[in-house]
Assembly symmetry: C2
Homo-oligomer: 186 residues x 2
DNA sequence: CTTCTATGGGACATCAAAGTATCATATGGG
DNA sequence: CCCATATGATACTTTGATGTCCCATAGAAG
């Protein structure tokens, strides 16, 4: 199925703005392969585009996360599936979690809280299963997981890390650090 | 000793631009506690300010890193000192390592490479000491360390993590993951 | 073939931030 | 007191990106 023009613009905006937050609409339009006028036919303004981009990213994240986190698996297994699923969406993750702009928009905040909430639940599960130590703050569990996934995405994009190696690296580093893996499964 | 106006502006620019990359010069000037005119008395243009900010951040990083990495300690000890020293400089780290703008400026690139080079040396040391597993790519060792330190800084700034807890969290997560620490020293 | 819709491209208007110029004022040394 | 230097404040110009408009055209549907 062919992507709609709107979706191509959103995707281009995510990619372009992730690599340079001060991109112009010309750059975004070019990356999307459309004229700037077309961009304005789909979005009222720059601000509207960015807002829809953020909520769109949040929805994509939710769609990717929910089925994984609601299936009956151990938190550790869920984590593994989650990491694999989300690494390719690094830019979406970035905008969903770390967008200090639109601080005020309730719709944006809601999407943000939903995604973060899912992460928090997962991290709580890791604690109750004894995977994560109880004396590590939950906020750190969430923040470092987000960060590690985003870093993996960026490392792939730069060509530093093979896309197929990234998920294992993230899981391993997150669960047992950079030393010898304690549970070299999967 | 009192900070020069120039240094206050640079510091304000680092803080302000780290939290919002599209800050205006008015915002930066206000954060520095000076008038916008004064800002132009010290820097030719916005671009010049940002460039000097980046090189300044790079120099600060170098000054902070070098004495630690050249002293005769194990790589593991160096890492511990490094993390403690750099976390409060999170914003500087951010601009030194992850600034895709000024991609072209040789001076900026040089500073970047110098800092990254130091990190790489340290990571190599961790490998030879057997602290880091040999099958983890060096690029991942560097990238995840950078990002973890930056995340710690941001978590402190948001109020999620206590400043005094952050270094141990980073070291522990980096070396042995979020589970029970293997070597609960220091 | 005609019509409807979406698009590309370019000309133009508008606006916000960058950058410039000037004056009054403070501060510190002589 | 007087001068030099640095600054705050404000008004002004310039610039570059945003936002608007229009027209020619391609493709799909009738």
């Amino acid at each position: 199925m062919k992507l709609t023009t709107r979706d191509r613009i959103i995707a281009a905006a995510i990619q372009t703005l992730a690599s340079n937050p001060v991109s112009t609409l010309d750059e975004i339009a070019e990356a999307a392969g459309v004229g700037r006028a077309t961009l304005y036919r789909h979005f009222e303004s720059r601000k509207a585009l960015i807002k829809e981009m953020i909520t769109d990213a949040g929805q994509k994240m939710e769609v990717a996360i929910l089925p994984i986190l609601t299936c009956p698996l151990s938190a550790e297994k869920k984590l593994a599936k989650l990491v694999r699923a989300i690494i390719p969406m690094g830019a979406s993750l970035h905008f969903t979690v770390y967008e200090p702009l639109h601080h005020d928009d309730p719709e944006v905040i809601e999407g943000h809280d939903k995604v973060i909430g899912q992460f928090k639940d997962l991290c709580r599960g890791l604690k109750t299963e004894g995977i994560a130590s109880p004396d590590v703050p939950e906020a750190w569990l969430v923040a470092s997981l987000d960060m590690m996934i985003f870093t993996a995405w960026e490392s792939i994009r730069r060509g530093d890390i093979a896309a197929n190696d990234a998920p294992d690296l993230v899981l391993r580093t997150y669960l047992s650090g950079i030393g010898a893996a304690r549970n070299p499964q999967s």
